[in-house]
Amino acid sequence: MPVWGVAGPVTTAIALAAMVAGVALGLQAARPWWRLGGSLLGLAGLVLLLSRGAGALLVDAGDLARVSPAAGFWCLLLVFMMLMADALSALRPGPRLRLGLLALFLVGLAALLASGALSELSIMQEYRGRVAGFRTAAARHVALALGSLAAAAAIGFPLGILCHRRARLRSLAIPVLSFLQTIPSLAMFGIMIPVLAWVAATVPGAQEIGIAGIGFAPAFLALLLYSLLPVVANTVAGLDAAPPAAVEAARGMGMTDRQRLWSIELPLALPVILAGLRIVLVQNVGLAVIAGLIGGGGFGTFVFQGLNQTATDLILLGALPTVVLALVSAILMDILVDFARRTPKRESA
């Protein structure tokens, strides 16, 4: 069936016009504001067509009928998203503006989902069937990603500081952590199962605090192990990068080791340390999907259920929120790094 037959000729004309105009505006590489406007216009057209089209297709269909967007939609979505990303990077908005834009985007997304405009899409129908499950999965996913990040920070910062001050420890710790990083994620999650099952069986009290071969504990531990290298390595690199003359001056004026660490070395290292945390957070949001495989919960549950049943929409229900979560974390952490880099750097030399 042709598109105007699905969404009606008027809607189709408006939406197509919006998308064409969007692409035309988006091609103005030298004018990032036009490009940004074009990408928004195009997205609006795309969403309009999607919501009207889906509704129309289902009018006479039975209860079990499902509509989902096909390759054409995803391609166009990709094009407009890339235009938007490019426009934003050319505009180089300050951290405050970026925070505002991010909030605007999230509010817009929430409004779109709440409005019911997309409720006819099969992914939304999958969602409606599992609202409670989706909420737990989301909470669990965030808990896995943020929790392992916090634990990695709690262990990694002190370890990084010690590695910075003692070359022997550094030459020992960094290779071990690098080795952990090279273990493929599926294997890592797999290894955790027997290890933690053994811990649960032998260490008294371990079971009571929730340690078991499958579930949250092994997933959390695997993520933690992956997180340690970026945290430790970036802490060491950040501390190393503090200007030697400033560190020497701090010693020369009579700061104790601790005073020097807190007021000179750590503040100077902060942007690099935060960059490490950014890597970890984005990586963990993605890796936490695999927790679904060993009963750890999170969005991975839907992905693997969907894979088993070859239900694409169920996979998407797990994958899309993960992508959004990863994007949002990356942008938030970037903003944080920018704030930490407050001290002016002179433009060029």
């Binding site: 200007p243 003359a245 400033a246 020497e248 001056a249 701090a250 010693r251 020369g252 004026m253 009579g254 700061m255 104790t256 005073q259 000179i264 503040p267 100077l268 001290t343 002016p344 750097k345 002179r346």
Partner: protein
């Protein structure tokens, strides 16, 4: 008074500073001069124990530095590091306030001290207080570095090539400023440089180092007039020697009665200034003034005689 007593530093098998002894009187500037790698920085850093001596000791007003906890010792000694070493993430004011903050001075006292120092170094406090080091010129950064070292009015100020990054004109001005500030505050300064000109201009005492050893130590006139060995003579420079000597001697001592033509030179000026006034105007003598009144004259013959007889 700082007494450096047969202090030595050995790294592996090389002796970097070799049994150096010297006494620095309170309220004077001692300049240590030597070629690159002669051990000047190491000697300086053994005074505040950034480098621990292999043997020998340093006494400050009779107190052995080895017995003072390092961080407390260093808070008493100002240190302007080679290459300013400012904290890039702190404002100028916060940089200067670093040691007073460590010492727990009250806030308003610190703020007053910061403004006082900025004014002293010719930097308008309102304009510079809240800038970051990256927003200053190289010369301004160095001045802030020196101001930071002076902030807590330390008993002793150690300066490692503080004017290294400055162009000749600013450098000359900074040296005059340092002299003036030192005389005003009565500070004791040990300053390291590889520039003999700077050593002669600033030092009450000059120590010449070569290969870790202190080969000569004395007033600048003595270093110029009677170099202890060939190395010191080379540092002073054969061609420059007469002029260096003249630049150290004020006109005051050679004034004789009589009249001469031309513009008068002040009696506090150096013989070098008087000589160039004579040569430039083509006269054998120029008048000398004190507080605006001519008190006599100085002759080319007297200047020549002074050089021939040395000190």
């Amino acid at each position: 008074m700082i007494e450096i007593d047969r202090i030595t530093k050995v790294y592996d098998d090389t002796t970097v500073v070799d049994e150096v002894s010297m006494t620095v009187e309170t309220g004077t500037i001692t300049v240590i001069v030597g070629t690159s790698g002669s051990g000047k920085t190491t000697l300086l850093r053994m005074i505040n124990r950034l480098v621990e001596p292999s043997s020998g000791e340093v006494r400050i007003n009779g107190e052995v530095t080895r017995d003072i906890p390092t961080h407390l010792l260093r808070r008493r000694i100002g240190y302007a590091i080679q290459g300013h070493g400012l904290f890039p993430h702190h404002t100028v004011a916060r940089n200067i306030a670093a040691v007073p903050r460590l010492l727990g001075w009250p806030k308003d006292k610190i703020a007053r001290r910061v403004d006082e120092l900025l004014t002293l170094f010719g930097m308008e406090p309102a304009a510079f207080r809240d800038r970051y080091p990256a927003e200053l010129s190289g010369g301004q950064q160095q001045r802030v570095g020196v101001a930071r070292a002076l902030a807590s009015r330390p008993d002793l100020l150690l300066m490692d090539e503080p004017f290294g990054a400055l162009d000749p004109i600013i450098r000359g001005r900074a040296q005059e400023d340092l002299r003036a500030i030192q005389q005003k505050l009565g500070s004791t300064i040990v300053l390291v440089t590889h520039d003999m000109e700077e050593a002669i201009r600033l030092g009450d005492r000059v120590g010449v180092m070569d290969g870790g050893r202190l080969v000569q130590h004395g007033p600048p006139e003595e270093i110029v007039a009677r170099p202890a060995n060939a190395f010191v003579a080379e540092m002073v420079g054969d061609a420059e020697r007469p002029m260096r000597l003249l630049s150290l001697i004020p006109v005051r001592g050679l004034v004789e009665p009589g009249a001469a033509g031309g513009d008068p030179v002040p009696e506090g000026a150096s013989l070098r200034d008087a000589l160039s006034a004579c040569l430039w105007t083509g006269r054998d003598a120029v008048p000398v003034e004190r507080g605006g009144a001519v008190v006599g004259r100085i002759t080319l013959d007297a200047i020549r005689g002074r050089v021939e007889h040395r000190a």
